[in-house]
């Protein structure tokens, strides 16, 4: 087993172990982390660099208190991306709705200004006559 492979196996074992931690251990780790952060804040204005994924949980209550079903979302730092996704979804949907209304307005405007009888246009039977004319033209 070379050094790289050994390193890889150790990392894998640690990752597996982390995934199988029981609830109480996770809770204790979270509390210890909060206490440590609290002590650091009291000690002085030191700059704490946190990985981007942890920003969503920094300063928030522990995973089990008040978070309920949302806890894992906050833990994974999904709040901001989800919110951005929802806002984007709403904006695109409104934009498409607006385009559709403009398309219908342009079409209805043309139908209203046309000289062809509305009664005929609104009748599916007239469509059959138009299709017959189309076939005759080909």
């Amino acid at each position: 087993m070379n050094q790289d492979e050994f390193g890889f196996r150790v990392r894998q074992a640690l990752n597996d172990g982390a995934e199988r931690l029981d609830y109480r251990t996770v809770l204790r780790l979270e509390q210890a982390r909060r206490q440590a952060l609290g002590r650091q804040r009291r000690a002085g204005p030191a700059t704490v660099r946190l990985p981007a994924l942890q920003l969503a949980t920094a300063g928030a209550p522990p995973i089990d208190s008040g978070g309920g079903a949302w806890g894992w979302l906050r833990g994974a730092g999904l709040v901001a991306p989800l919110l951005a996704l929802a806002v984007g979804f709403v904006a695109i949907s409104h934009w498409q709705e607006e385009l559709e209304i403009q398309r219908l307005a342009a079409l209805d405007f043309a139908v209203l200004l046309d000289e062809g009888p509305l009664e005929a246009y609104a009748d599916q039977g007239f469509g059959v006559l138009l299709q017959a004319e189309q076939r005759a033209d080909r």
């Binding site: 709040v79 919110l83 929802a86 209304i101 405007f109 139908v111 009888p117 059959v128 004319e133």
Partner: protein, 158 residues
């Protein structure tokens, strides 16, 4: 500090709920607007004098027009001032009749209009003339034939 933390947590939960449920609410909206007839939008009294003049034939039925259709009519009202006096008269003469059509008839009218303008002028006029000369029972027969065709197509899709 604790209160602030709780407030932040509550705000976060609210934002999350909004993020998750906003798209669902948005998707639910069109279905709702189809089921309820008089659906929101600006009141007749809220329209500008120019919009009221353009849409005058719709004044009596304005409250029954769904809000999406109101937005479409307001778009048409914006185009109204650019029309010639003849154009304005024709538009208004057909407006109330068009608004009274069922959504299905309006869809058919748009389809037939587009189909008619794919034809040369003579063919288009010939189809209109043929339709005008058809007795009512024959018109009904044609409509039913077309509806049967559509139903068969739908059945094939399923």
């Amino acid at each position: 500090m604790i209160d602030g933390g709780k407030r932040r947590a509550a705000a976060r939960r609210l934002l999350l709920a909004a993020a998750v449920f906003a798209p669902a609410l948005l998707l639910a909206r069109p279905a709702q607007s189809q089921n309820t007839a008089p659906a929101g939008g600006p009141a007749w009294s809220q329209l500008s004098p120019q919009q009221r003049e353009a849409l005058a034939p719709l004044a009596g039925q304005w409250t029954t027009i769904p809000s999406e259709n109101k937005r479409k009519w307001l778009d048409i009202a914006d185009k109204y001032p650019q029309l010639s006096p003849e154009g304005k008269t024709r538009l208004q003469a057909r407006m109330a009749e068009f608004a009274r059509l069922t959504p299905e008839q309006r869809r058919t009218a748009r389809e037939n209009f587009q189909r008619a303008y794919e034809l040369p002028r003579e063919s288009r006029e010939s189809a209109v003339e043929q339709y005008r000369l058809l007795p009512d029972d024959k018109k009904k027969e044609l409509t039913e034939r077309s509806q049967r065709k559509d139903a068969a197509k739908e059945a094939q899709k399923k």
